[in-house]
Each structure stands twice: as C-alpha cells, then as structure tokens.
C-alpha cells in the first residue's frame, strides 16, 4: 500500500483524494429509490433532504473549521422567513425565491461573522446560542411580519420551472429538494478539496500552527461562516417553499440542537456525515413518534448515547472500525 503510494507523484496523489468513489455514486443513486420504493413517503424524503442540507452547512463550520454553533438555526430561519415573505408579497417563483433567501441568510451570516471570528471555544458556543435566541424572540415579537406564534400563513409556491406543481404527494417537493441538495453538495465537495478547504482543516487541526505559517485564520473563519449561513438559508427556504408555511420553530433552539445531533450521529468532518445523520435522525423520529409520540426524544437520547460511546466519530467514522474489529479473528 505504502509502496504503491510512493510511486505516485505528489500531485497525482492529491488528485486521487478528490476522486469519486463507488460508494459515493451508490449513495446518490440510492437517493432516487424513494420515488420507486416508497412513493407514500416522499414528503418525509424531502424533509430528510432539507435536514441533510442543513446538517451539511453545519458540517462546514463544525466538522471542517471546528466552530461549534448552537445557533445555526438562525440562518435556517432567516432563509425560511425570507422565502415565505417573498411569496406572501406576491412572488411565488421557487428558484428566484431560493436565491434571494440564500442572499439574505448569507448577508446576516457575513455581518455576524466579524464577531464570530474573534472568539473560540465556550465563548463561541454561548455567542451563537445568544444570537439564535435573540433572533427567535425578534421573530416572535414582530408578529405583524412573521405571524408570530401562529406562523407565517398564505405562502403559495408557483410551479417549479413553470411546469411541476407542488402537490400533496411530495413528488415535486422531493425532486426539488434532492436536486438542490445535490448541487450544493457538489459545490461543498469542491470547496473541501480546494486550497481554502485545506486551510479550514488546518484551522481545525491546529489554530496556533496556522498563525505560525502566516495564515489569516479570522479571514478564513469569516468566509466559511458566511458560506455556511447562506447554505443553511437554502435549507430553510426549501422547507418554507415545499411546506408553504413557516413557524417560529424554524429558528428555535431545538432546531439548532437537532442539527448538531444529526451531524454527531453521522460523523462530523466527513462530508457525508450530515447526510447520513439526517437520514437516521428523521427516520428514527418518524418511527419512534409512531410508537410513542410524547416520548420519542427518549429514543433519540438513547441512540445519541449509544453512538457517542460506541462510535465516537459518528456512524460514518466508526462503522468501518467496528466492522474491521468484528472481522478480525
């Protein structure tokens, strides 16, 4: 193994790191299965795609740059309310609505990134938490704009590309959410394998060494925080457009905590961790709440404890190790 690697030129070696693997292609093909195998669950599938996109955006800051956020739902909420309001003010075209909502979330992300980049560790967790709580209360008190506790009503999303109606069965919703997720994923994958992506991993691995090689850590943090905010905004906007409603919990603390749980379940810093974690979380919620609607968090708690103890790097990070250990005689 080591010998064959050494025969490669360093450039070819680095190129090989970003090559598409068969498992990845299989993963994306599998995302098409719900259309055929579970047509009754397409609404759930679109919720999963949206949650996956949200978790992917958190992975960029948490898994790659090492910024723990407990207020990431703020950007999800900004995206959701922007998309909802654009539609309420009479423009229901989904793609332009999505674009404008992304811009809104990205702008707020950029503005707050100047504060975020100055802090680390516990202070950062508290700052993001505080910012999230603040925004949730603002949305609550601005009932004239957001509908307050009743949620934002009267959203109507026009046909996708002027052709496909967002009907009750969720076919269009899932196709739309999946397509957006896939394109965002392509962009994220490219970013991770770029020089900037390498710098992010450097920040996660060792902040002090990064400054010792002359890296502008804070500028890097501002950039990735802005990008992650914009992507969270896309997820929020997708939810608003496909469900045609926005409620306060779209930017609440619980959503910030849930997305963190999804990412930890799947495995942070591995690109597919958020996608796998979101799938496990959403399917578990769907199944557990069927058994005991009031107590379903109990089961999520058990699942989380189980994963953190047995698979400290999440399902994606830990499963290969577990299988290897099991196979070894």
């Amino acid at each position: 193994m080591a010998l064959t690697q050494n025969l490669q030129s360093p450039q070819l070696y680095l190129q090989s790191l970003s090559r598409w693997r068969p498992a990845e292609i299989a993963f994306w093909l599998a995302t098409l299965l719900p259309f055929v195998l579970a047509p009754n669950y397409l609404s759930l599938a679109s919720q999963i795609a949206i949650a996956a996109l949200f978790a992917l955006s958190l992975d960029l800051i948490l898994g790659y740059a090492g910024i723990v956020s407990l207020g990431h739902a703020a950007f999800f909420g900004i995206g959701a309310y922007s998309a909802g309001l654009i539609s309420r003010f009479g423009w229901g075209e989904p793609l332009t609505g999505l674009l404008l909502s992304t811009l809104a979330a990205g702008l707020v992300g950029y503005a707050t990134s100047f504060i975020i980049a100055r802090f680390r560790h516990l202070a950062l967790i508290m700052l993001t938490l505080g910012f999230g709580l603040l925004l949730a209360e603002l949305a609550n008190s601005a009932g004239w704009l957001t509908g307050g506790i009743d949620g934002l009503q009267g959203i109507h999303t026009w046909r996708l590309l002027g052709l496909f109606n967002f009907g009750l069965f969720g076919t269009t919703a899932y196709a739309y959410a999946l397509a957006v997720l896939f394109f965002v994923f392509l962009g994220t994958r490219r970013l991770i394998h770029s020089p900037f992506g390498l710098a992010l991993r450097g920040i996660r691995e060792n902040w002090v060494r990064m400054s010792a090689i002359g890296a502008p850590n804070r500028a890097h943090i501002r950039t990735i925080y802005t990008i992650a905010a914009a992507l969270a905004g896309i997820a929020g906007a997708l939810l608003a457009q496909t469900t045609e409603t926005v409620s306060l919990d779209s930017l609440g603390f619980e959503r910030s905590a849930e997305v963190l749980v999804m990412l930890v379940l799947g495995g942070a810093g591995r690109l597919y961790g958020g996608l796998v974690g979101a799938t496990i979380f959403m399917v578990a919620r769907d199944q557990f709440s069927g058994i005991a609607p009031e107590y379903w968090y109990f089961w999520i708690g058990i699942l989380l404890i189980f994963v953190v103890i047995l698979l400290p790097n999440g399902v994606l990070g830990g499963l290969p190790n577990l299988i290897a250990r099991w196979r070894r005689p």
């Binding site: 360093p10 770029s194 710098a199 060792n206 400054s211 010792a212 090689i213």
Partner: protein
C-alpha cells in the same frame, strides 16, 4: 555593515511582578547561526514568543531588517519573513506531511482564498512543498497522517513547515527536544544544511550540539542577557560555567 536581519531593542516583558524579559538587546545578522542557551526558566521561549508576536512586550522594539514589526500580529510577521518551530510539537495531527507543507506554501502564495479550485491543480505549490520534504528526507512518509509519524520525523516536519513560509529569520525552539541523542544529530545536520541567506537562532540544551553548530552563543539568565560571544569566549567565561555549564557535565 548592513542592518541585522532581526534585532531587538530594550525589550521588556513582565507578568505582574515577575520579569521574564529585561532590557533584551539582540542583533541577528544575515546568515547567523546563533545559539540561545540558559537554564530552565531563563526566558528563552519567552524571547521567541516576543519576537514572533505571540506575546506583546511592555516596552522596546523589534525590527525585521529596517522595519519596526513590534505592533504586528504573528501571521503578519510570518508573511514578512520570521518563522519559528515549537519546543512541543505544534503540528496538524490529521493532515499528512504533504498536505501540511502544501498548506503552508499555499498560504504564502496567497492561494488559500480559492475555494473553487482543486488543491491538486496547483502543481508549482505542490512541487515546492515536495522539494522541502525531500530536503528534510520526509518524502518517504509524506502520505502518512502526521499523528502516525515517528517522533523524530515530527520534529523535522516542524522545520519543514517553517521553511515553507520562506523565512529570512528562523527561530528554532529546541528543535531536537525529546529526540534520542543519536537522532538529534540528524536534525541538526538538516539545520546546518539550510541556506546561508537565512538568519538562524536556536535554543538548545545539549552543549555538544551548541558548540558544534553555533557560530555565536547568547546566554540568558533570569530574563536578561547574561553574556554573548563566540563559543570559545562563552566557554571561557567564568560566570557561564557557574550559572549554566557548571550544573551539567561537559566534556
């Protein structure tokens, strides 16, 4: 004579009532091979932290060539040409040596703002990184994650990362700390082979190494410069034997 590569003028630093740097005057000429010695707690690492900007002095000036860099951030100093290594490994455990050094080269070349381009497309930067690894004989293990490298290799990677910033001044804080004596010679051979355009200052406790590789020795005691001079002068200094050499066996 031209301006020294790096100089310190009247540097002062104290934590409360504890003075860790007292009126430090230092001039490191281009091509210098200086050793900084002194007992534990003499303020050697503190001096490196002051010059690289990790600590801010209470008074005094630091100049790189003619430029006053006292107020600059650590990364700005690196960009102007001061690099350092750390006494305790300060590496990227999850990156391999090629990725780590490529990252350092990419930062210097201003490539790390690019988020749409594959790292592998930057052939020149990668080749430059690989050349540095070859020079330090790290190329045979450069695809292995740093955390899996033998300790001695990790010490060399410290130097490789510093070199990737193309420094004019290189400050090595005990480059062979924790390395068995036979391997520490390898590390200093690598250091000795560095370009003569580089001004080099290293902290080291092993007197064999100091006398073999340094052209000039600075002795620090209790946060102040005690004496300095050629190895022969310092070895003959009666006080040095008392405060430092006398406490160790020296042959």
């Amino acid at each position: 004579m031209s301006a020294p590569a790096l100089s310190a003028r009247g540097l002062q630093k104290s934590f409360g009532s504890l003075v860790v740097a007292r009126d430090i005057e230092l001039a490191l000429p281009v091509g210098a091979r200086y050793a900084l010695i002194g007992p534990n707690g003499a303020g050697k690492t503190t001096l490196i932290n002051l010059m690289t900007g990790i600590l801010a002095p209470n008074a005094g000036q630091i100049l790189l060539g003619d430029e006053d860099i006292t107020a600059l951030m650590p990364q700005e100093r690196v960009q102007r040409g001061i690099a350092r290594t750390f006494q305790i490994n300060t590496l990227f455990p999850g990156l391999n040596a090629l990725e780590a050094v490529t990252l350092a080269v990419a930062e210097r070349r201003g490539l790390t703002r690019r988020f749409w381009q594959n790292v592998a497309d930057n052939k020149e930067a990668i080749d430059e990184a690989h050349d540095i690894l070859v020079k330090l004989q790290l190329d045979d293990c450069c695809y292995q994650p740093t955390r899996e490298l033998p300790y001695g290799r990790q010490r060399l990677l410290e130097i490789a990362l510093a070199l990737a910033t193309r420094p004019k001044v290189l400050l090595l804080d005990e480059p062979a700390a924790g390395v068995p004596q036979d391997e520490s010679a390898d590390i200093f051979e690598a250091v000795a082979g560095l370009s003569r355009d580089l001004a080099l200052l290293f902290v080291e406790h092993d007197m064999h190494v100091v006398f073999r590789f340094a052209s000039h020795i600075i002795v620090m005691v209790a946060g102040a410069m005690y004496t300095e001079g050629s190895p022969a002068e310092v070895a003959a200094h009666p006080g040095v034997r008392d405060v430092y050499l006398g406490t160790r066996k020296h042959g």
